[in-house]
Symmetry: C2
Subunit: 350 residues, 2 copies
């Protein structure tokens, strides 16, 4: 198999209007995730590798805590793979903070060439797509993709510091305190968690929505556009995927997505799953429309989706992290909240 | 030649510890740059494609003005290439604003799959490196890389709104109001501006400096690390480059860089040039240590460096945009200002 993989050559094959297929196989070698107390109490709690005792993770500020999440996730992933940082050629990292400081401060000490990425909550998909490009292209044998978010740093960044005690409408989502790191590799091994067989990069889609407390509605049009493009580029129907998994649309955004796709005669009701809905128990936990943030889809991928691919429950899924491209400044200046989504096709190894 | 190019296959070859060489040739098909009034009055003024009448570019806010810079740069580049947005497969874009809003709002209307990138002022190098990966890897035939900065939006983002009239020490740099867009292609043509023959991606380097008004000193260690890595990875000496061009170290950072490299027994005094020093005339224009920002290296590359490669004055240069990874929040919380740099080897076509 190793031989075959080498023979296949490197590079990628562009497919349809906005997708590509790796010419050289790319695998998720391993992954690790770290999360906060609320995520630990949620349905995925017992599958998360490490849960903090409190959400400061031993730091003085929320921002430092978020950096620590990334550092721990990368450290754990390297440990699981039995690899040293020097063996990783590139690190693709992002978060939601201004100037992506959680990734810069969280990953600097590894000394891995650093590619900062920003796609709001779609960043996990964007990093996996770029990492796949590097590995399938032969520019790297192993890369790490890591993203994070933190409830308290995100509230301060986008809305109000927690100390203000502002109220939140039911459409608001709850930013996940968490981070996950994924090691992508060209090396064939039975221990690899999944194979990346396709990437669809998304366009920015703006329906003119301005409500920063209804991110689901802002992102649903971009998710719709991405899913439709993926199905068209690969000539697939929704049933060709066991699951079509969006990042953090939440309950409100899920409804909007299903309706928008139906207008295009695409029905994914049977396949759709949203990480923001999976990561919390909305009946018990006070999370509004569901979870969100760069950490939401990343933690759910590491703790849950990859497990389902490993045990053969699912054979092929389309993973679509979704992002809302706003900043505090753009919101205060009355700008819209455009959405973006990036898609990765994941398949079981066996 | 076109045939040869196809035969060579796609992909990249990793070189040394952190570099790669495109297996399929990647060219800068064309580029365009737009800048503000102060840049128009500088030494590169007559080579900049479009200069605004005032720095609001017909918009109501500085942030919208920066978005407009990106939009105009991409539009001009497409026009020069005689291409439509649909012919571009991916757009790699970034800026300095929180959540990279200038790129999101500036480029959304083109409908090109969007990869948001953040590397502070090194972003121009990071986008060119990622774009090279996509084109040499065969995932795309044509991509656009675009970055921007705006003096007024950056002062508001990182320091104080202009209306405060705060003072600036001589070590401070002046953020360039400008944007440049580069179309990378695999297509062989005599009209291509330059060829990208190597990429070196940089590590985050942190010397513990905390002065956000002395960016040159914060970034010089990362530039030193990158240049040393590039020379080692490619087995080259400084004299193998006609120029080694940093992004925005300015006068203070240049001195630090030359000294740091001498400690490694590398002398680039004869080859070194800094975009931040070239873009303004520090004798006449009040710009402190020089220019800075994502727009600084981008505009200088488009308006000046590519011209020197086109007319054969230079055969091969190492282009090293440099970035300071701070945010207003990280600065206020007393964190250091780590640096990062990304390197691109550019060669004359003829």
């Amino acid at each position: 198999m190793g031989q075959q993989n080498k023979k296949a050559g490197t590079g990628g094959v562009s497919v349809g209007s906005q997708s590509f297929v790796p010419a050289r196989s790319v695998y998720i070698r391993t992954s690790a995730c770290v999360a906060g107390t609320k995520e630990g109490e949620g349905p995925l709690g017992d599958r998360i590798d490490m849960i903090g005792k409190d959400d400061l993770f031993g730091c003085k500020t929320w921002e430092e805590a978020e950096s620590t999440l990334q550092k721990e996730a990368v450290t754990l992933a390297l440990g699981k793979a039995g690899m040293k940082a020097e063996e990783i050629r590139y690190l693709f990292a992002g978060d939601l903070l201004g100037q992506s400081t959680a990734s810069s401060f969280g990953t600097a000490s590894f000394g891995i060439p650093h590619m900062g990425v920003y796609g709001a909550c779609s960043t996990c998909g964007e990093t996996l797509g770029l990492g796949t490009m590097a590995v399938s292209g032969g520019m790297a044998e192993d890369v790490i993709c890591v993203t994070s978010s933190h409830f308290a740093s995100a509230e301060k960044e986008f809305r109000y510091p927690l100390a203000y005690g502002n109220q939140r409408p039911p459409s608001a989502t709850w930013t996940v305190t968490g981070s996950a790191a994924f090691i992508l590799t060209s090396e064939v091994s039975k221990r690899n968690r999944a194979r990346i067989t396709g990437v669809t990069n998304g366009k920015i889609v703006d329906y003119g929505i301005k409500d920063s407390l209804n991110m689901g509605a802002c992102m649903a049009p971009a998710a719709c556009d991405l899913i439709a493009a993926n199905l068209q580029d690969f000539g697939r129907k929704p049933e060709d995927y066991d699951k079509i998994i969006t990042g953090d649309l939440g309950l409100v955004g899920q409804r909007a997505l299903l309706d928008l796709l139906k207008e295009k005669n695409i029905d994914i009701e049977a396949q759709h799953m949203d990480c923001g809905i999976e990561i919390y128990d909305s009946n018990v936990q006070d999370v509004g429309s569901g979870g969100s943030g760069c950490g939401c889809s990343a933690v759910t991928l590491s703790a849950y989706i990859l497990k389902m691919l490993e045990d053969g429950t699912w054979k092929r899924v389309l993973f679509v992290p979704t992002g809302a491209l706003l900043s505090k400044t753009s919101f205060n200046e009355g700008m819209t909240v455009p959405g973006v989504a990036h898609g990765v096709v994941l398949e079981a190894i066996a």
